[in-house]
């Protein structure tokens, strides 16, 4: 399993960039296929590539049919076949276990037979590329993009290796012109890409891995670490998850940038959001957009929902007629989002329903909040109010992610109960935090890293930090670049004695 924060990956990547710019432009996308195949085989059991190949073949066949029968029934049938086949493969690989465990639970109640748990090895990135493909098929049907009948081109679209680790989920329309085109070497683009890669490695190895040590320690035994320990772990888990996931995005988007292929962003300083709803527009952006365009909108615009709206208008009035179908659509959306994260009830109930509740309540309470704000004479344009809103968002997100991180719904509830069972604020001051697997020096490095992240994030709100740095003088720039690499080499958590942080989203 080659980690994208390993020296091996960096070296091989640099070699691939060298090859990429030495070969003729029209051959570049073939080289990308070769690189992707290699990356796949060292990251996944090569035999699972058959699932990916199956998806690619089915998608190409469906595309060919759709190209021939533009708007006719053949096109619709092909679309449905393509979507069912791809989602079917995903369901088999990722959700058959969930399905069987529920059957077995019912079976135990009714005295029926128990089915053995199926277990399938999944190809790398199956949750991500499947969704990209389904989005592509729908876009073909809706005329947003042209069906692609070239098998190899579809292979690259689905299997482009930067996307395999943790996404982003891509749109065919945005990618096709870049993916197969010839790219000339552009100094600024390649150096910016490299800088971004190292920034991502910094986030993962210096911040995420450290935060993870404390989180793992506390959550491995919540009874030994009640009260504020759980708060600390929950807050740090979001740090760990954010730096891990967005760091991964930095690495792969930066890598793709070096090839001249600009991938969509997945994060936009999510913790500067003012509401949970805004948060989900800034966290895992491509998933949110996919859900909106390919699930939410089709549902809300379906005949069933529009009729529901019309009949509600008659009985409950305009506002309810708008809100109820929307919330029902959102409910479906959040069940699916929960399910996408994993085949387990904790994801659906815990994460999915928690955020659904946060958003719906947030909307329903909006008029009430407006009254309170006016009554308390709060100025909502100030930094302090933004800070409050961000803190509120952060707290709500931390609670929701308890279900993501802990092993079961019950464990998450237990953690929540334990977090208020003891009031022990002294642990923040008496050095207890230095007993959680990280030495006191490492705890300091962790918080220093978080501070650096905050500063960079604040700067990013204004403009690209790489551009800002590029404008500075050579000595200062080089101090920053050498400094970043130096920080990674000295303070990165790698080597024996430290568990290399495992990719939290990579199991998808």
């Amino acid at each position: 399993m080659m980690s994208i924060t390993s020296l091996q990956f960096v070296v091989l990547f640099l070699v691939s960039v060298g090859i990429y710019y030495l070969i003729p432009g029209r051959l570049q996308w073939y080289a990308l296929i070769a690189f992707s195949a290699y990356f796949f085989c060292v990251s996944s059991k090569p035999v699972t590539g058959l699932y990916l190949a199956a998806s690619i073949l089915i998608t190409t066949a469906v595309s060919t049919v759709m190209k021939k029968n533009r708007e006719g029934r053949g096109a619709k049938a092909a679309l449905i076949a393509g979507i069912l086949a791809n989602l079917g493969i995903l369901a088999l690989l990722k959700y058959s276990g969930f399905f069987v465990s529920n059957l077995n639970a019912a079976g135990r109640l009714l005295g029926g037979p128990q089915i053995p748990m199926p277990s399938f090895a999944s190809p790398l990135g199956v949750s991500f590329y499947t969704f990209s493909i389904v989005g592509y098929l729908l876009d073909c049907y809706w005329g947003i993009t042209e069906p692609e009948t070239n098998l190899l081109k579809n292979a690259l679209f689905a299997g482009y290796y930067p996307l395999l680790t943790s996404g982003p989920i891509v749109r065919h329309k945005d990618l096709k012109d870049q993916l197969y085109a010839a790219h000339r070497f552009d100094w600024e683009r390649v150096t910016f890409g490299l800088q971004r890669i190292f920034w991502g490695i910094f986030k993962k190895l210096v911040i995420s891995a450290r935060a993870g040590v404390i989180v793992d320690t506390v959550y491995s035994d919540t009874e030994a670490y009640p009260g504020l320990y759980i708060w600390v772990a929950a807050l740090l888990f979001m740090v760990q998850l954010y730096t891990d996931f967005s760091g991964c995005m930095d690495i792969i988007i930066g890598a793709s940038e070096c090839y001249g292929i600009i991938l969509p962003e997945n994060f936009r300083t999510p913790f500067f959001s003012r509401s949970v709803q805004e948060y989900w527009q800034r966290w895992h952006i491509t998933l949110g957009l996919w859900m909106k365009d390919y699930l939410m909108y089709p549902i809300l615009r379906s005949r069933a929902f529009r009729n529901m709206g019309k009949s509600l208008k008659k009985s409950l009035g305009k506002k309810a007629a708008r809100q109820i179908p929307t919330y029902l659509g959102m409910l479906i959306l959040w069940i699916v989002i929960g399910l996408w994260h994993g085949g387990a009830w904790k994801y659906i109930l815990g994460e999915g329903m928690w955020f659904f509740a946060c958003i719906v309540l947030g909307q329903l309470m909006e008029p009430v909040f407006k009254k309170w704000i006016a009554a308390l004479h709060i100025n909502t344009e100030t930094f302090s109010w933004h800070l409050f809103q961000s803190a509120r968002v952060y707290l709500l997100v931390c609670i929701g992610n308890l279900f993501f991180r802990l092993n079961s719904f019950r464990e998450a509830l237990k953690a929540m109960r334990l977090s208020v069972s003891r009031f022990n604020p002294w642990i923040l001051f008496d050095g207890s935090l230095d007993q959680l697997g990280l030495s006191d020096k490492n705890v300091r490095v962790l918080f220093a890293g978080i501070l650096v992240l905050l500063v960079v994030s604040a700067l990013q709100e204004k403009e690209s930090v790489r551009k800002m740095i590029a404008r500075q003088n050579l000595v200062f720039r080089w101090i920053l670049y050498v400094g970043l690499i130096w920080l990674i080499v000295v303070f990165g958590m790698y080597g024996p004695g430290y568990d290399a942080a495992s990719f939290i989203y990579q199991q998808f």
Binding site: W187, S439, K441, N442, W478, Y481, V482, I485, W486, V489, V490, F491, G492, Y494, G495, P496, G497, Y498
Partner: protein, 388 residues
């Protein structure tokens, strides 16, 4: 074109920075292993006539600077504590790359020890220059470890490149890491004293079979050394061994002799060496600095007489040895109040004779047998005022 230059310049700045950083972060252990290897690589080509290889038994018993001062023998001591026996073969190969000694003095105490301490592996391999032989050295020792430890085979990649191990030392970096290293070819000062008695020196009556893996290593070694022009001498430095060790080392000696190897067993020669059981040992199996001077001089004479090693005092390019000797002398005079006291009298260490009058108390006689002083020492070799 300008971009290519700036890339190269950037990489140069980056590697320079990382190089300096790892210079500080690299391990410096109390046994000066890093200095042993750094100063070995610094030697002029083909300058040494003899090389000593072995574990702490060799390292703490032989000081190349003293030997040179004594009779002009130019040698080097490539020994680190806990050096596993399987390291000897690749280390000789390492020496042969840049040196051409006529004699190898191999201390074979580690033939009694089949297990390998991984920290001792690093003392050698983390200080060797990157080469094919370094990889062979790692594999040789880790093969012994895997064969004898009973644990799961160890991950080797962190030995091939040790950056992953040492970057973590940032937490423990201290002033010593930034300082100058000692320049005495890795020799160190050990001046604690314990008193032994002749009864403690037992003959090698027992016989226990040494580990077959080590016999295999021995055969490998001999096959290689047979191809060399250099003479190979297997030496066992004088010490008060426990019963198990005696049995194993007895077997080792016989195995060596059966393979036609030259064996130098020094326990019977303690008198010739001039070792005093009262003051020359710091523990049962190691001499202290006073004892090591005597052993060094004995071995230097032995090498010169038996193998015709020339007296190179006054020659060119041998400043490293004189500097090592002088640096060591200054340091030991500073640290040892005994010697400081006698420096005033102009009396040199190797001409004093100590006679025990009790636990760690002695009458001190000069070379003419005149009583100089009564001396008393604590366990650390520090002189204490004696109540008469």
């Amino acid at each position: 074109m300008r971009k290519i230059i700036s890339v190269i310049a950037f990489l140069a700045v980056l590697s320079g920075t990382m190089g300096k950083t790892f210079d500080v972060l690299w391990e410096r252990d109390d046994g000066f292993s890093r200095e042993v290897y750094e100063q070995f690589y610094d030697l002029p080509r083909n300058s040494v006539d003899a090389v000593v290889i072995g574990p702490s038994a060799a390292r703490e018993y032989y000081f190349a600077g003293e030997a040179f001062h004594h009779n002009g023998v130019v040698s080097y001591n490539l020994s680190t504590s806990g050096q596993p026996f399987s390291a000897i073969l690749p280390l000789i190969k390492e020496v042969e790359k840049t040196q051409d000694p006529s004699v190898y003095l191999i201390e074979f105490r580690e033939l009694e020890e089949d297990s390998v301490n991984l920290g001792d592996v690093r003392k050698i391999t983390d200080n060797m220059k990157w080469s094919r032989n370094r990889i062979d050295t790692i594999n040789s020792m880790l093969d012994q470890y895997d064969a004898t430890s009973g644990e799961a085979p160890v991950e080797r990649k962190d030995y091939y490149t040790s950056f992953g191990v040492y970057h973590n030392r940032w937490e423990d970096v201290n002033a010593a890491d930034f300082g100058e290293s000692e320049q005495w070819m890795g020799f160190g000062i050990y001046n604690s004293i314990i008193t032994m008695t002749p009864e403690d020196l037992k003959p090698f009556d027992e016989y226990y079979d040494i580990d077959p893996y080590l016999l295999g290593e021995l055969d490998r070694l001999i096959s290689y050394t047979d191809t060399l022009d250099a003479k190979i001498v297997f030496v066992l430095m004088p010490a008060f061994f426990h019963s198990d060790s005696r049995g194993l080392l007895n077997c080792a000696m016989q195995q060596l002799q059966a393979r036609g190897q030259e064996v130098l067993f020094l326990n019977p020669h303690m008198g010739d060496i001039g070792l005093s059981m009262d003051v020359d040992f710091r523990e049962e199996e190691h001499v202290n600095t006073y004892g090591s001077i005597k052993v060094t001089n004995f071995l230097a004479d032995y090498l010169q007489q038996q193998y015709g090693l020339p007296d190179r005092r006054g020659g060119n390019g041998l400043e490293k040895w004189t500097n090592a000797y002088e640096g060591f002398r200054k340091a030991i005079l500073k640290r040892t109040s005994v010697l400081a006291a006698y420096e005033e009298l102009g009396t040199l260490l190797d001409t004093c004779r100590f006679e025990s009058t009790g636990e760690r108390t002695f009458d001190v006689y000069d070379e003419n047998g005149a009583l100089l002083d009564h001396a008393a020492f604590d366990e650390n070799g520090k002189r204490i005022e004696q109540v008469q």
